[in-house]
């Protein structure tokens, strides 16, 4: 036990935790938090400012008096965008819907000739 204490005291130097180092740790962590908290608040505010500006502009243009700007989910927007893109570029399936086999102009072929399929030697 005593040996353990000696080892711990020799390896672990608790005197290094003084007012300066503690303040570095605590103040440092608090500043990191504050910076990101500030950014959180700012980025929360930005969409509201943008929405306010859009509403004001539309009101000026007389498009609507009480416009509500809806927050569309990203995947919904992606689906709408994809549909519009495909519609505008007309790259969706467009075919004749004809699924019949087209007749070939050359109808005779030795491969389809009936004469080759018959046996010339008739059994009596």
């Amino acid at each position: 036990m005593i040996i353990n204490m000696i080892i711990i005291n020799k390896i672990l130097d608790f005197s290094a935790i003084n007012a300066f180092t503690t303040s570095v740790a605590i103040v440092g962590y608090v500043i990191v938090f504050l910076v990101l908290l500030l950014l959180t608040l700012v980025y929360n505010l930005i969409p509201k400012i943008i929405a306010f500006n859009v509403r004001r502009r539309r009101k000026k243009q007389g498009k609507c008096d009480d416009c509500e700007i809806a927050d569309t989910e990203g995947d919904v927007t992606a689906a709408i965008t994809m549909a519009l893109y495909m519609h505008l570029n007309e790259i969706h399936d467009e075919d004749s819907n004809g699924i019949t086999i087209r007749r070939v102009s050359k109808q005779y072929s030795p491969w389809s000739s009936k004469i080759y399929a018959t046996n010339p030697f008739v059994r009596i």
């Binding site: 390896i11 672990l12 130097d13 608790f14 290094a16 935790i17 300066f20 180092t21 503690t22 570095v24 740790a25 605590i26 103040v27 440092g28 962590y29 500043i31 990191v32 938090f33 504050l34 910076v35 990101l36 908290l37 500030l38 950014l39 959180t40 608040l41 700012v42 980025y43 929360n44 930005i46 969409p47 943008i50 927050d71 569309t72 989910e73 990203g74 995947d75 919904v76 927007t77 992606a78």
Partner: protein
């Protein structure tokens, strides 16, 4: 579990070998260079003299080879380098980093006559490796890497749900707790700060800060020179980043209940182009004004992001996120690997740094997870967050987000958390860079 045991078993064996064998075990083969710089006996005449000259030349050649100069330290580092290459190829652990670092370790630990003036070693002025290493010691490479990261990162998930940014701050607990831990273990505050940043789980940030605080050049207040810990810190940071899939899941399962793990989060809203353009500009101004020391990193991060989002600098953004970052990653990985020269790397401090680094990662993960739980106490039912995403607050982009996604899928196969986890993940990059800036301004 098997992987975990393999990896830590290997680390433990290496640590044990380095303890058992003193690093100078084979150094008796090294000869005094002044003796070697003498010209070999010149044969004047006669066959006997010719034979002696030939033997002398051969002996001298042998003394210059790696076989004559090898030490146990070189062999240990050779094994470490091979393990890095093995982990990268076999388990796909961060191969883009571990392969250059692994090869760098092999290159940096090729034994040669140190005092022969061959200008080969990374610490020998005038050598090619030394010139390349200048980018590390001067802190040039990390900001360029950040430029590339900025140009390739989509911050939409963060912009759409800014409150997740706080998780990136919470996870920096690991940085400051490890800073205190390193102090208790006898490191100088500047060295402790550099070690603590391993918890930021960001390789470039760790290299940047250690190149400023623990570079082997700065003179400390007591007149001594600070230790050169760039190699061990960088290796520890990148190793633990590669081991994120091994380290984080047990902590997640320990701290997050099954009920919490199945929480489904609201889909992120669509973000307008204007918001995306404003994000880097506002982020740069706010972070740089509060913590100017983090400017080299965050300035480049936000600059790269503006190149991407502005939509008019596609060529520059493409270069930053492809060729430029690739070139710097190659050089950075190689030189950081080569900086682990056995005589500098194999010390008891390195082992302590590895232990502290592991603790730092675990504390950071726990910090993010617990803070997410606390946040849930204040959020309405429909806005609740899945606490697993807190683990992505350590940066390690995008590995920790991927781990969160996989753990979320295990709890509920229909719950896709990747995009939600990317928000604290990129916030972690910003948070760790801010933490590095604060430590730099306090401790330099």
């Amino acid at each position: 579990m098997k992987r975990l045991l393999t990896v830590f078993g290997i680390i433990a064996i290496i640590a044990a070998i380095s303890m058992v064998f003193p690093k100078t075990a084979f150094t008796d083969t090294q000869k005094d260079t002044t003796e070697l710089s003498q010209p070999a006996p010149v044969a004047i005449d006669g066959a006997q003299n010719d034979a002696e000259a030939a033997t002398g030349g051969l002996k001298k050649f042998f003394e210059y080879t790696g076989f004559a100069n090898v030490t146990s330290g070189h062999l240990i580092m050779l094994v470490v380098g091979l393990i890095f290459i093995y982990l990268a190829i076999r388990y796909d652990y961060e191969p883009l980093l571990l392969i250059p670092i692994g090869v760098g370790i092999l290159i940096g630990n090729i034994p040669f006559m140190l005092d022969a003036g061959l200008q080969l070693g990374i610490y020998e002025s005038g050598s090619v490796m030394n010139y390349l290493y200048f980018g590390v010691t001067a802190g040039i490479y990390p900001p360029i890497i950040f430029l590339g990261i900025g140009a390739m990162t989509d911050f939409s998930s963060l912009i759409s749900n800014p409150k997740l940014m706080l998780l990136g701050a919470a996870a920096q607990l690991g940085v400051f707790a490890t800073f205190l831990g390193a102090l208790i273990l006898g490191f100088h505050p500047a060295e402790a700060g550099a070690i603590g940043i391993i918890g930021g789980a960001d390789g470039p940030t760790a290299i940047f800060l250690s190149s400023k605080l623990a570079n082997g050049v700065n003179i400390l207040s007591d007149g001594t020179t600070v230790k050169n810990l760039i190699g061990p810190i960088a290796i520890a940071a990148y190793s633990y980043m590669a081991l994120v899939p091994v380290i984080q899941p047990p902590i997640m399962r320990l701290l997050i209940t099954k009920k919490e793990r199945v929480i489904k989060m609201k889909s992120p809203r669509a973000v307008s182009k204007l918001e995306k353009i404003l994000f880097p500009i506002i982020g740069l101004l706010f972070t740089a004004y509060i913590s100017p020391s983090s400017l080299p990193l965050l300035g480049m991060l936000f600059f790269g992001n503006l190149l991407k989002e502005s939509g008019v600098t596609k060529r520059l953004a493409d270069t930053a996120r492809t060729s430029l970052i690739d070139i710097v990653t190659i050089v950075l990985g190689l030189t950081v690997g080569a900086s682990t020269q056995a005589d500098i790397f194999l010390t008891s401090e390195s082992i302590l740094i590895f232990v502290l680094g592991a603790a730092s990662f675990m504390i950071a993960t726990a910090g993010g997870l617990l803070f997410a739980k606390v946040m849930n106490l204040f959020l309405s039912e429909e806005n609740k967050i899945n606490p697993l995403v807190g683990a992505a607050g350590v940066s390690a982009v995008p590995d920790s987000a991927r781990v969160v996604h996989v753990e979320g899928l295990k709890a509920n196969p229909n719950n896709h958390l990747l995009m939600h986890a990317m928000a604290p993940n990129v916030a972690g990059v910003i948070g760790s860079a801010v933490a590095a800036g604060i430590l730099l301004s306090y401790l330099l």
